[in-house]
């Protein structure tokens, strides 16, 4: 109970600081954030867009992990964990795509321009969507679990082609004002703190949502076993 309240306060602080800390050209006070050339106030979205994108990938990796586990041991709980990760990942991926499009509109004028990272997050969204379309099309539980686990794996091995290979080969429009080629970080300490705090907060939020969902599904599963296997609705 206490942890939940703590998490709520943490994220509220992140949101408040993220929006209210002043952005000045020469940060002097401890609470000043630097102006990122070309982005100005819109840079605030980095506190929210990047964590959601990061989480969609984390959730997918988690889904993949439990998918492999399920295929090896065939324990239903692993399928529950895999599907729950995917569900939350889907949500965050949708948020990441939307916030990314908003950022794109502010920075480059169009909501969409097919640069590799925007394409990657969109493809991840498609994979999540396909994953759930597949799950809803299989009635037998064991088969549903196996097939979606396999699809997660196939999706997992093709994802790296977007994430890592394509930006190297194709020209990228994705802004690197904060982390440029020399690796210099243009974020000042305060900005970094807020950013990392947001990252940590969102990760904790993800974990909390996920364990809640897994617990609920597990109880549902056990109850239907006692009652002699009523079909799920």
């Amino acid at each position: 109970m206490g942890l939940r309240i703590f998490l709520g306060l943490w994220l509220s602080a992140v949101i408040i600081f993220g929006f209210s800390l002043p952005m000045v050209a020469q940060p002097q006070h401890w609470y000043d954030l630097p102006i990122i050339p070309g982005l100005a106030e819109k840079a605030r979205i980095i506190f929210f867009h990047v964590p959601t994108a990061w989480l969609s990938v984390l959730a997918f990796l988690s889904s993949l992990f439990y998918a492999v586990r399920y295929l090896r041991k065939k324990e239903p709980i692993d399928d529950i964990k895999s599907a729950s990760s995917a569900g939350i990942g889907f949500l965050f991926c949708f948020l990441a795509t939307v916030t990314g499009a908003i950022w794109a509109k502010f920075s480059w004028g169009t909501y969409w321009n097919w640069d590799p990272r925007q394409t990657s997050i969109f493809v991840l969204l498609l994979i999540y969507g396909a994953y759930f379309a597949l799950r809803s099309a299989v009635e037998v539980e064991e088969k549903r679990a196996s097939l979606s686990a396999v699809y997660a794996i196939i999706g997992g091995v093709t994802m790296p082609f977007f994430m890592f290979i394509m930006p190297r080969i194709l020209a990228s429009l994705h802004p690197e004002p904060l982390l440029n080629a020399q690796g210099k970080v243009h974020m000042n300490t305060m900005m970094l703190i807020v950013f990392l705090a947001s990252l940590a907060g969102f990760t904790a939020l993800y974990y909390w949502m996920w364990s809640l969902h897994v617990r609920a599904e597990r109880i549902h599963y056990q109850r239907s076993q006692i009652h002699g296997g009523a079909s799920r609705d």
């Binding site: 498609l126 969507g129 396999v150 082609f161």
Partner: protein, 236 residues
């Protein structure tokens, strides 16, 4: 003792190869007899190109768009025909028969070969019709284009086959197939479209090296992953 086990391994490898070829031939002969996939794919390609011609009219379209459109036609044509090899086995009740006859890996490769033959035929027909009727589409560097078609066909077959195996076990097979295939095929699609543009623009062969490397790694990765997971899809 060692001799016996290596000769046994060799014998099993021969049986495996014979099995793969037999499965490919069975699908191929069946297709020659019933012609379902040939006609479906053929009609699809002809209709789609006709529609494109009609909508382009006398205006034509920029060469980049034409390169992309070629692969759109190929993608949707593939979606209308490459799932057959697994779906018919399920629908007709011969999937269990095949399982009794041969191990999963042989079934996978046999059907991969069949889809490869099918998609190669599809691509040859599509590219020919496209080049013949769509006047804005001119390839300057033929070598890039040829390699792109070859690698693109193999990549298409690889991804399409494993997804076909998956949806054959689901209920709403028809609509599910493109939905599942598109994210998996997208890296391939973007790469071949890029390579086709390079070929149309008259780039040097070496300029497409990055694309070819990508295609080859895609093929290797997808086939390796498919063989590893195939039994989980195919066996109940």
């Amino acid at each position: 003792m060692i001799n016996t086990s290596t000769s046994m391994q060799a014998a099993n490898a021969r049986r495996w190869l014979r099995s793969v070829v037999a499965i490919f031939l069975k699908d191929w002969r069946s297709e020659l007899r019933t012609r379902y996939a040939f006609s479906a794919l053929g009609m699809f390609v002809v209709t789609t190109i006709a529609i494109i011609l009609f909508s382009l009219g006398s205006e034509g379209a920029p060469p980049d768009a034409l390169s992309g459109m070629l692969w759109v036609v190929i993608f949707f044509a593939a979606m209308s025909g490459l799932a057959r090899t697994f779906v018919t086995e399920e629908e007709r009740g011969t999937a269990a028969t095949l399982q009794l006859l041969s191990p999963g890996s042989a079934v996978y490769f046999g059907k991969l070969l069949f889809n490869l033959a099918l998609v190669t035929l599809l691509n040859v027909v599509t590219v020919s019709l496209y080049a013949l009727f769509i006047s804005g589409f001119v390839i300057q560097t033929g070598s890039i284009f040829a390699v792109t078609i070859i690698l693109g066909s193999i990549g298409f077959a690889a991804a399409a086959t494993i997804i076909a195996a998956i949806i054959a076990r689901a209920s709403t097979k028809g609509t599910l197939y493109p939905v599942l295939s598109f994210p998996i095929l997208l890296p391939l699609l973007l790469t071949v479209i890029n390579a086709t543009r390079l070929a149309a623009d008259g780039a040097f062969f070496q300029e497409a090296a990055g694309e070819f490397q990508l295609l080859i790694s895609y093929i290797v990765v997808v086939i390796t992953a498919s063989v590893t997971v195939f039994d989980y899809v195919w066996k109940d």
